[in-house]
């Protein structure tokens, strides 16, 4: 942590014990910290001295005005040894830009339905932000976290401004790729600042569906020209399987003229929901499937027998390694995943976090089967939506009850 503003073990304002540096940027740093008073993990954001005074206070106040599962929760703001800090909910998961990159690397694309679901969640959170009289101004995949339980969380309100702050909106801010062209020229019509976020949803939607950003340009001027060019890039050029209505919506969202865009995030939510209903979501009929992850061959064998006892005809796959499990789930999401916590490569909790964070595991029930899970392990697993079972004589009965409950038609 050399060069960072705080060190591991530092206690901020007598309450927040620094555990690790999570990230650093031009404006400041974000730390993983333990709230000693309330015994919970938090994210502690600190302002680099000399940059944009009070931006953390502004961010904190903006967040305090909003209560929505899609918006990161603020706990408090303060100052420690002259350094401003903001304490936020610690959101575990994977950022959307990493997920997009991950899929691009693997040559995979977001299924249309999944992409729409993500966009609905982002637009819904933004509609609440706008409803509070605020504009986020930095909507981009890197500021969207995919948290356990399918929760999509809008992060980093460092550039937030009140809707009515016309002078503030004339100052270009945000990430060039996602900024509306009017932001690049400072030409923002009164009452239209929220349409900057609407534009950003369009760019994000394009990237989500196509795996690449829609505009090329080495600098702000080149990007501005690309953004003003008509027609705007069509999703259908790269995603022939996208419904034409979705392509039309993304095109509208990225319209160079703000007045041609949907006139608010709420309107975007409704259009996306209507589209989602039309995208076929009929699940393919397939046998009940189970993935067993345990490095002990004896355990794999007995767990497989327990599953067969509870669900004749189940498709059972077994592996002794966490990384193999991740790959297996990527290939095909099982209905039930049984995972040992003590694995040789990555431990079972990390497997669960990766699966939940990547939303690969949302469609399946994850159950940890462990010989010695600690209370802290069980609590963390609960937060991830993972049930915990003990390796012991009751395991067969407990497993049978779980399988009985989740098996289709039972």
């Amino acid at each position: 942590m050399s060069g960072s503003m705080f060190e591991t073990g530092d206690v901020i304002a007598d309450v927040y014990e620094i555990r690790a540096l999570l990230g650093a940027g031009a404006m400041g740093e974000v730390y993983d910290a333990q709230d000693r008073a309330l015994n919970r993990r938090v994210a502690l954001k600190v302002e680099r001295p000399g940059v944009a005074p009070d931006y953390l206070v502004r961010e904190g106040r903006a967040l305090a005005a909003i209560r929505h599962p899609g918006v990161v929760t603020v706990h408090t703001v303060g100052r420690h040894r002259g350094v401003a800090f903001l304490v936020l909910e610690r959101v575990y998961g994977l950022s959307l830009d990493r997920m997009i990159e991950d899929r691009r690397t693997r040559g995979e694309r977001f299924p249309i339905g999944e992409a729409i679901d993500l966009l609905v969640a982002i637009a819904d959170a933004l509609s609440v932000v706008h409803g509070a009289g605020l504009v986020h101004r930095d909507v981009k995949p890197g500021n969207v976290m995919l948290a356990p339980g399918g929760r999509v969380v809008l992060m980093d309100f460092g550039l937030v401004l009140p809707h009515a702050d016309r002078a503030g909106h004339r100052t270009a801010a945000g990430s060039l790729q996602y900024m509306g062209p009017e932001s690049l020229t400072g030409d923002i019509v009164e009452g239209a600042a929220a349409l900057l976020d609407v534009y950003a949803i369009g760019v994000l939607a394009y990237e989500l569906l196509c795996g690449i950003a829609p505009f090329d340009g080495a600098d702000a001027q080149a990007l501005y020209r690309a953004k003003m060019r008509k027609p705007v890039p069509s999703v259908l050029w790269l995603r022939a399987d996208a419904p034409p209505a979705l392509d039309e919506l993304v095109t509208q969202l990225m319209a160079p003229d703000p007045q041609e865009r949907p006139q608010g995030a709420e309107a975007v939510v409704w259009q996306l929901r209507s589209l989602r209903a039309r995208v076929s979501a009929a699940p393919e009929a397939r046998p009940f499937s189970v993935l067993i992850v345990d490095d002990d061959e004896d355990m794999r064998r007995m767990l497989a027998l327990y599953v067969r006892a509870a669900a004749a005809g189940a498709e059972i796959e077994t592996t002794g390694e966490g990384r193999h499990a991740i790959r297996a789930v990527r290939r095909r999401v099982p209905d039930l995943l049984l995972v040992d916590l003590d694995l040789p490569d990555i431990n079972g909790i990390e497997v669960c976090m990766l699966l939940r964070g990547m939303r690969l595991g949302d469609a399946c029930l994850i159950v940890s089967v462990s010989g010695r899970a600690t209370k802290a392990d069980v609590e963390l697993l609960q937060q991830l939506g993972v049930r915990s079972l003990e390796k012991g004589p009751e395991l067969m009965t407990q497993l049978a009850a779980i399988i009985d409950r989740i098996r289709p038609g039972h």
């Binding site: 490095d295 002990d296 004896d298 355990m299 064998r301 007995m302 767990l303 027998l305 067969r308 006892a309 509870a310 669900a311 004749a312 040992d340 003590d342 040789p344 462990s370 010989g371 010695r372 003990e390 390796k391 012991g392 004589p393 395991l395 067969m396 049978a400 399988i403 009985d404 039972h410």
Partner: protein, 107 residues
């Protein structure tokens, strides 16, 4: 509804238990070998595995001995000192005796 009472599955479970039982002495020997070459973490992991599988296969006493051995081998993540090593050997002897007994008489 489950097929927990399916005779075919019960036979497979019984067969798995018999195989497990036959392998118990070898498992205890493997842990002894790890301890002999001071592979403490390998030994701890092996004891941990045996603890879990013994519980599931119905060998509760063996699971208790394995748990006791795992506990000593954990030793706060540090290599065991001489005194702890003596405790490890004592627990290992108990584990082996129980493994030999269980492999003959069952759980």
């Amino acid at each position: 509804m489950t097929e927990a009472g399916d005779p075919a599955i019960e036979a497979l479970v019984a067969s798995a238990r018999a195989d497990f039982s036959r392998g118990l002495v070898a498992k205890a020997s493997a842990i002894e070998a790890m301890v002999c070459r001071a592979a403490w973490d390998d030994a701890r992991r092996a004891a941990h595995k045996l603890r879990g599988s013994a519980g599931v296969y119905g060998f509760a006493a063996l699971g208790t001995y394995a748990a006791a051995l795992e506990e000593i081998l954990s030793n706060g993540g540090r290599p065991p000192n001489e005194q702890t090593q003596a405790s490890v050997r004592a627990k290992l002897a108990e584990l082996r005796a129980e493994a030999e007994r269980a492999s003959q008489e069952g759980p």
